[in-house]
Symmetry: C2
DNA sequence: GTCTATAGTTGGATAGAC
DNA sequence: GTCTATCCAACTATAGAC
């Protein structure tokens, strides 16, 4: 069974395995042993690739943050010409929620990572980075939506992004608990409506 | 050291100890052993009082939810006569935030309890109850604020409470990560402002 | 009825084999 | 440089003492 592999590839493989286990069964289930088993390697291999369980955890968190950043930068595509701001926001929210609803385990995992990181002084940076990336993604979406619809935010985008992030976070957690996707969507739609009041519309390019 | 105690009192004492440990060091640190140590009793005593670690956890969660319900029902007091709605909301938010900011460990613990409960089928009810109580508390605050200021919500209170709860949840978690109390307060104030637009003012009792 | 002493399991880490 | 075999600590749970 012992297919020798360069350490970098092993690390990637192990982080994959850790993600699989943690998303499905929770962070507590992602023990060094369980991750090794999932990856099909002996226990000690994990400790050869990572100094420490914390280091494996940090790598896992980094990987999730990377995915988050990638998802954020995928952006909105408006093929039918420039929409108005409410429409753009509705699209953004719909796309966001679709991706959330399709990955409950991963969503729950991000909350677990946050709390776990907050409880361990050395891991605090993990939680901070998580939010920096999320915040940047939120700002980007808001900026793109405004640009696409030819509107201008009347308040700093950073503030709006902070509020949006908090709201989405809270709505998602609530949804994980009650499983009510309709209610979650309604809440997000309401917030999108609020956001639309925080911009003023510039003269629009005429659609021919 | 063996002061014999009736089981009900021991249970209460142990839940106290569990709360102390969990709020300070996280739910993962609240092992049966650590709780016994904190309470100053032998390890086995915990297993005599609780069938199971899960039962101790459930008791801990119930105790936190009770406190939450109590805090919610403490209500708002407006000694200076009926305020207008924006003022009432500002007061409610300020009081809420003060209590949150004073108990970071307990706040973080509630998130840990939620995620932990969501990862264990048998404990799902714990998370659901947590949110039912929070939601009820939110509805109560909104209703009281409207009554005190002689206003009427133009949307179902349940919807507004759901949005408020989500937002407060998200803001709190963000604050636990970045420690920026000012930003948190600003976000909450903004939301209070939004809420005020969701009501219409009835004729006001004149203040003499 | 209340508590103590002990068993059995699972986890993180390492010394050393290949 | 990569992996295996082994160690030790910490945890949950229980059998039985008082």
């Amino acid at each position: 069974m012992s297919t020798r592999l360069p350490v970098a590839e092993r690390r990637a493989q192990l982080v994959d395995a850790a993600l699989t286990v943690a998303a499905e069964e929770g962070i507590a289930a992602a023990t060094v042993r369980r991750v090794a088993e999932e990856a099909g390697v002996a226990l000690g291999v994990v400790h050869y690739c990572f100094d420490d369980k914390d280091e494996l955890f940090t790598a896992l968190a980094a990987r999730i943050v990377d995915e988050l950043a990638a998802a954020g930068s995928s952006g909105l595509a408006f093929d039918d010409g420039p929409p108005d701001l409410p429409t753009a926001l509705r699209c953004a929210v719909a796309a966001l929620w679709e991706s959330i609803e399709a990955s409950a385990g991963a969503q729950l995992l991000t909350y677990e990572i946050t709390t776990h990181a907050l409880r361990n002084r050395e891991l605090r940076g993990v939680a901070v980075r998580q939010y920096e990336v999320s915040h940047a993604a939120a700002e980007q979406v808001l900026t793109l939506a405004a640009e696409a619809s030819g509107a201008t935010w009347t308040r700093p985008v950073a503030e709006l992004a902070g509020e949006a992030l908090a709201f989405v976070d809270g709505v998602t957690l609530r949804w994980l608990v009650d499983g009510d996707g309709g209610a979650a969507r309604a809440r997000l739609a309401e917030f999108a409506g609020y956001l639309a009041t925080q911009a003023r519309t510039r003269r629009r390019k005429r659609v021919r």
